[in-house]
């Protein structure tokens, strides 16, 4: 019962926070769909029982996982700003790092 109660309180607090902040909603929705994409790719591999071509399989998964991680870093810095770090910097870093990730995945698949 304690666990159920704690879970319900957490869920309420989470949705309250997210509903009040469109940016958090953007990030969390994106993360959820990245997980979905990973599951779809995994289902494909399970269906055909083969991960050929291996570099393409890695590319597809790495872009989902990498993008998820970068989104999490951005999300962590959205709340209180850290001292000596400007407010726009997390987003700037997110964009640059994402571009590098996309570049790597596009080249790795080929």
């Amino acid at each position: 019962t304690d666990f159920q109660e704690a879970f319900n309180i957490s869920k309420k607090a989470y949705f309250a926070q997210v509903n009040n902040n469109p940016r958090l909603k953007l990030i969390d929705t994106f993360c959820f769909f990245l997980v979905l994409l990973g599951i779809i790719q995994f289902a494909f591999i399970v269906l055909i029982r083969d991960n050929f071509p291996f570099n393409a399989f890695l590319s597809g998964f790495i872009i989902c996982v990498g993008q998820f991680v970068l989104l999490m870093s951005l999300r962590l810095q959205l709340g209180n700003s850290f001292p000596c770090i400007s407010k726009g910097r997390p987003f700037g870093e997110f964009v640059v790092a994402s571009l590098i990730l996309h570049f790597i995945c596009l080249h790795f698949i080929n």
Binding site: P22, T29, P53
Partner: protein, 47 residues
């Protein structure tokens, strides 16, 4: 004397999935991305 002939046995080419199955999954992924954008718009997270 003549020795037995040897012919190199090549590694089997990896099997490729049938086009319809690949296209089906491509369609699923396309729909997923589309539904992500629709969800963003509907939830007013994006304008």
């Amino acid at each position: 004397s003549v020795k037995p002939e040897i012919h190199h046995v090549f590694h089997a080419e990896p099997k490729r999935v049938a086009r319809p199955i690949a296209l089906l999954f491509v369609a699923i992924i396309f729909l997923t991305v589309l539904s992500l954008i629709v969800t963003w718009l509907n939830s007013c997270a994006a304008t």
